[in-house]
Each structure stands twice: as C-alpha cells, then as structure tokens.
Symmetry: C2
Subunit: 457 residues, 2 copies
C-alpha cells in the first residue's frame, strides 16, 4: 500500500509537527479584536507554506472581516478537482487557569499535542498542506489531481466572509468536490467519514429594566430585574426533559432513515463510559426515547453559553443591574431552516417578556443543517483510502456540530463535501486542554495522500 | 437656633468638604482583595481625623477582615452616651464606563459631590466627625454628651468583624443609643428618620454539569447546561408577579400597623415620577395590591445580581460551560429570620435541581430585619433637631436596605438606633455616578450638632 508520497510523509513527520507547532503559537482568536494582527500573521503563515509547497496563485484575500487564503494547482488534466477547506482561526482559550500548559505554547504529552487549535482546525487543515507537499515533492512537482485551497479565518465567528466569497465567486472555485477536515473519528483507530452536520442559530438576548444600576435594598420589589426576566424566558424555552418549547420549532424536523439508525446502533458505544469519561456529569440529559447518537446528531437542541452583566466578582454586591444578556444558541437538524427558526425564536421570546423589561435580540452564525449523500465516487474513494491507512472498515457518522461552509459548497458550487476528520471525542474542542492525537495527524496526512491518488486512477 | 458649634461648622464648610474629598480619593473597596491596602489607608485616615478632633483612645482594631476604627470621649458626666457608627468601605465602582467622572476623583457638579462612597457611607460617616469637631472646638474641648465611635470597613461585604466585635465586647461599647447615618431622606428638604430596615440573605448558587467545558455542537442534547439549570431554578423562585415561591417563605411576614401605613400614604410620592425619574423602566414590577412603599419597605423580595461563568466576551462562543453561578439575594421583613430563610431557600433549591446538575450553595451577609420604636427620647431629640435645621416636620419612614449592625446594637448592647440619614433617593448608591448633595452634608453636620446639644439639656 505504500507510495513514495506516503514514504516522504513518514520521513518528514518531525518537521511537519514542528511546523504545526509554529502555527499553533500564533494566538489567532478570531472573536477577540485584540488578536486581529495574530489572525493576520496566521494567514501569512499559511500563505508562505503554500508558496513553499509549489502551489500557484497564492493570495491573501482581504474581506470585511479576517482574510481568506487561496491557492491552486490545476495541471492534472482530465482529473477531478478538489477544493480543500480549513480554518486557521481558533476559539478563545478561556478559562486560562484550567489549562495544564498554556494554550499557545504547544506541548507534547502522551502522544498528544496540546494547544488551542491543535485539532480545531489548525492541525487538521495543516494535514492538507502536508499531504500536498508530500505528493508534490515525491511526484516531480506534480499532483495526481487538481486542487484549490480556500482557508478562512472566521470559522469560529460565523464565517460570513467566506460565505460571501463563495456566493460571489463560484466560477473562481470551480471544483468537483470539497475536502473538509474539521470533524472527528468515532473512536480511536476507527476511520470515520462524517455525512451529516447540525445547523445553528446563535443569538444574544439583551434584557433592560431600570435606566441605571439600582441598589437592591432601595428598589428591590419595585424595579424589574433583567436576570430574573432572562431566567423566566430561558425556563420557557426548554423544559427539563430537553424539549424546546418554541411553537413550531419541531415542524420540519426529519427522522434519520431506519438504515442510518441501524448503522448507529452498530457503532461501538458505551453510554455509561461516555457519561463518565467524556461528559463527567452525574447524569446525561436530553429528550427521553432517543439514543445519545440521535440526541446529539439528529435532534435539535438549545444551549445557553453565558449571561453577561451585573456583578460577577468575588463576594456580594447588591445591585439590580440595568441590563443583562443571555447568549443562547440552537443546533438544527434537517430540514430546519435557520432564518425561520430565528424568527420563531425571536417572535416567541418577544411574546414572553416579563413586565417592565425591554429586550433586543440579535443573531449570528446562522448555518444550515447538512446531509451528505454517500453514493458518489468521492465519498467512496475517501472511505477506501482511510480503510487502507487504518486497516479497518470506514464508518459513516453524523456530527452534532455545524460547519456552515459545507452548505455553501452545496448551494453555490453544487458539489458534495467529503468530511474526513481525524479528531477524537476527547480532544476538548472549544475547551481547556484542546489536543490533537499526534498519530492521527500523521495518519490523516497519509489518508489524504491516498485519497487523492485513488481519485486519480 | 444658632449655636457657636453650628457657627463653627458653617465657617469651616469648605475645609470639611476638602477633607471629605481626600477620604473619597482612597478606593477602599472592601470586596476586592487588590484594594486591601486602600481599605487600611482609609482606616488610618479616619483615625487621624479622630486624633485631630481630640477624641480619646483612638485605635485601629485589627480583625479577621478589615480593621475597625474606635475612639471615645466620656467626660460629660450624667449625660447620655452615643455610639456613632459608620463605615469607610465602599462598593466596587463597576461598570466604570458609565461614570461621568472617575469614581475615585471626587467632582462637584450642581451642588453635588460625585464619587464612590460620597453618600454611602463616607460622606455621612464624616458628618459625625465634623459635628464632633465643631462641638469640641466651640466648646473649649468639651462635648455636650459622651460619645463612642465605631467605624467599620466591611459593611459592603457583610460586616462580620463588627458583628463579632459587638458580640464579644458589649462592655467596651456601653452606650444609651446608637447613631447611624447610612440612610436617606424621603425627599429633598424633608427631614427624615428611618425606623425600619429590611434584613438580608445573600447567596451564591453554583451549578456544575460536565467535568469540563464542552462544545455545544458535539454534546448539545446530552450534556447538562448549568445556565439552563440555573434559569429553571430561578424561574421557580419568583413568579412574574414578584411572589416568592419558596415554601414557608412568607410564614413570619408581619404587616405594618394601620397608623404606619397611613403615614406612608401621606408622604409626597408620585408613582409615575418615581417610575420615570428614579427607576426609568417601562413599568414597575412587584406584588399587585401593595403600594411601592410597602413593596420596597415592608414586603420581602428576591433579586439576582449576576451570573458568573461561561462565555461573556463579544461575539459567539459555543461552549457548554462545566459550571455557572447565580448571585441571589433576598430582602427580609419583620419577623422573618435570616438563618431560617436561608434554610428554606437552600432546601427548596436542592429540591428543584434539574437532572445531571450538582449544586452547592453558600451565603453571606445575613441580616435581621429591624423595626425601631419611636417612643424614646433619642428618636424625639433627633426629630426635633432635624426639624430645627430643615425648618420642616420630620417624617418617619422605613428603608428597603439592610444595616445588619443595627440588629447587633439591639441584640447585644440592648440599645435603640437613631437612623438619621441625609442621602437622597437619586444618589445612585451602589451604582455609577454615586453622589452626595453638598447642602445635605452641611445640614447633616448641623443636625447632629443640635441633636447632641438637645440630648444634653
């Protein structure tokens, strides 16, 4: 099964890892304005890698937000064209005190590389670059298929710029399929293709009561309390069984096919181990009557991420804050539509605002839910390539996360996406101590090499 | 009506104000550990004022928390002894960006002095010192009555050290009444004695779900969300009419006498003006069937002050936080007992914890509600002194706030408190742009001078 390109990748593993660490040292947190220049540095880092590999038309494309990085190599006449997608921005690292080693000082422990962005998505995006380098170096400056790369810096903040770029430039991105490595394997050593994503609507509801912060002794009992109001609203959004109470919310929800549900039942899953080792809560929650796979992949849900406002320091401050907010998101499943769900949400919230409170609602990060058909040669080649490298049959799963750009590829480029991910369930995405399992970094590079080679034949 | 002491006070107004500004420049925020040395500096400032006045036994008394400052003058044989109480600590100044001028740079505008602590309580506590200075300077080094002073630095964080000191040293604090200037006047130019205070229980409820922060895409639908859980709990604590739903919560609540309710009805109050000018909300809230005075003075209530945890930055972060908290306080009225209410609260909260969530609850700032009897010579002299200085009949009101030390004076020293306050309803206590109306600072000093003189005759 080996090939010169795979050999090249194996021989260069230490350098590939060292270069990934260089990228991880750049704190390219897209949501925090103070990291704007870091985000730009990360884009420049990617572009210089692309140039070194020998890709063409390397460009940092300025946008209203953070830049896109583009490159292509289109000389494999008669062969398919891949669009390699990834993102170089990362989530904020807080809470910092829960990291064993600092988030932007990549550290190896037990075959894992710990750093913010290690797996989401710098490490996985970097696999594409290193697979292309290996193919190019071992192939006399030629690739087995045509490639375009489009790497964004706003995935963690909604990806508006790439969405607009795809919408406005479909001809510049002409391709046969997209390759996305931003998902995870179902279990260690189990090659996995992701064929479904939940969509998302992220909102912030601001509640305003008094015009200024008031003393709760003087005014408590007469002045509206924005936190109490938000609590009353949130309690009416989701019941204690995890059922969302927004009228019409479930109207378009579809059920997976019985075949897909059957496949999920065959996956190696120990609910008690998942509860203890992954979640660590006293009990799992969610809708009764649905498996964990269904609850996290095929059922919509609603979460609250933070409630800014008021007094959050140590000790006691007796303030009735003038305003408070709740960051509330919903994950959507086929055939829910984010714009429609946002309207149902905001209409409902407006209808249950307690007395004395004014609210305003805004949204970002609207993403369509996605189902990928598995009956195409791209998915088949990916399945075979991963099986070859891992020595096990590849499984199809869905993910509960959202990758909005996959819907854009489908809608505007009319191409399917191959979601070949190498993360693991305990990689701590968006959390302290994010990591990437280093063997998966190497096997990911090899799988992509073989995937492209299989598509060429 | 004038006296040499009042004359002295009038002649020294500019210096008194300048010295108060010096005290206000010290950011003695008792709840924030980084201000510990500022709190100590404020204590030292008070002690040096006491020494300069000619008070005796001036002492900075170290405690487990912030120091107490004590002084006395006990040479008015046969005359009553006052215990002058005040506090030199202040609330945190945040949100800083809502202050017109910086909180620790005292600034005069429109006859008001703006600074954190201007009225609560540095400015009011300082009136006692300046009244004593005026009496001493104009009285050949003698005071008309005996005085002890006990000034604390933990009022804004629960006052545990002074409570312990009073409990353990009643003989050192022997007196006939306590004078407390930490309340407000009902209206500008309307002399007011406060004869009732609400009690308090301040709690923090921490909810824990998963063992680490989780990605809401991957785990949303299976992992418990601590914010949703807290919202569900809070929504079960208080209904939308302001009624508290904790079983047994109202069992000991007493109703004011019909005479007291009658007096409240006679107070100058325009509910619509109060709503617009003081609160500024679209509507007032609280229990139907009760006047605003009843709701804020004679009815218990519950407020949420902040909900630390999760993501509170700008933009979107899709985290299910491992933990979140709610700072929740209750204001109590006679005959509710804080320890009992805390137990009812925590038992009830524990009984409604949603699935998958662990909680822990802690409390501080337990304070008894207080009613002061008005049929004693101290209240009568105070009433007459204020009437003389303001030229209007003094009214009796209650306050919705809590001054726990007043209950300690009653319980351990067996003395009534005279709550002679000179704040105004729009002084922004605990909020940005706290102020003290400068004419009230001067009239307060004069009222206290006359009060002590009347008690001597």
């Amino acid at each position: 099964m080996s090939s010169p390109a795979v050999e090249y990748a194996r021989q260069n593993q230490p350098r590939f890892l060292a270069e990934l660490k260089d990228l991880l040292r750049i704190p390219s947190v897209s949501t925090l304005p103070q990291h704007k220049t870091d985000v730009e540095r990360a884009a420049e880092f990617i572009a210089s890698q692309m140039r070194a590999i020998g890709l063409e038309h390397v460009a940092i494309i300025q946008t209203a937000g953070h830049p896109l990085v583009y490159a292509d190599w289109l000389h494999a006449s008669g062969k398919p064209t891949a669009l390699c997608y990834g993102h170089y921005d990362v989530q904020p690292p807080d809470p910092l005190n829960e990291w064993t080693t600092p988030p932007f000082e990549p550290t190896e422990r037990n075959q894992n590389l710990y750093a913010r962005g290690a797996v989401d998505d710098k490490g996985q995006m970097f696999m594409h670059l290193k697979a292309l380098e290996s193919l190019m170096q071992s192939g006399a400056g030629k690739l087995p298929i045509n490639v375009r790369l489009l790497i964004e810096g706003e995935e963690e903040v909604g990806g508006e710029s790439i969405a607009r770029f795809i919408r406005e430039n479909p001809q510049k991105l002409k391709c046969d399929f997209a390759l996305v490595s931003d998902t995870e394997m179902y279990a260690p050593d189990l090659p996995t293709l992701c064929v479904g994503l939940r969509g998302m609507v992220y909102t912030e509801v601001e509640a305003r009561g008094a015009k200024v912060d008031l003393h709760s002794g003087m005014y408590g009992g007469a002045a509206p309390n924005p936190f109490v109001a938000l609590a009353q609203i949130i309690a009416k959004l989701k019941d204690e069984n995890g059922r969302i109470l927004i009228p019409g919310f479930y109207d378009r929800v579809t059920t997976p096919s019985s075949e897909e549900l059957q496949d999920w039942k065959a996956l190696p899953f120990d609910e008690e181990d998942y509860r203890q080792s992954e979640v660590g809560s006293s009990e799992l929650t969610g809708e009764p009557g649905y498996s964990v796979a269904e609850r996290t992949w095929a059922r919509p849900t609603l979460d609250v991420h933070g409630m800014p406002g008021g007094f959050v320091g140590a000790g006691a401050k007796t303030v009735i804050p003038a305003r408070a907010s709740a960051k509330i998101s919903m994950r959507l499943v086929p055939e829910q539509r984010p714009e429609e769900i946002y309207k149902l949400f905001s209409d409902y919230v407006k209808s249950i605002v307690p007395r004395g409170i004014q609210i305003s609602i805004r949204s970002w990060s609207l993403a369509d839910p996605i189902i990928i058909r598995t009956d195409n040669r791209f998915v088949h080649a990916a399945k075979d390539a991963m099986k070859e490298i891992f020595g096990k049959e590849t499984v199809y799963i869905r993910s509960g996360g959202s990758i909005p750009v996959v819907a854009d590829f489908e809608k505007h480029l009319k191409v399917p996406s191959v979601m070949m991910g190498f993360g693991l369930p305990d990689d701590n995405l968006h959390a302290p101590n994010e990591k990437f399992h280093i063997p998966n970094f190497y096997r990911g590079i090899e799988s992509i090499i073989r995937f492209f080679q299989l598509l060429s034949s």
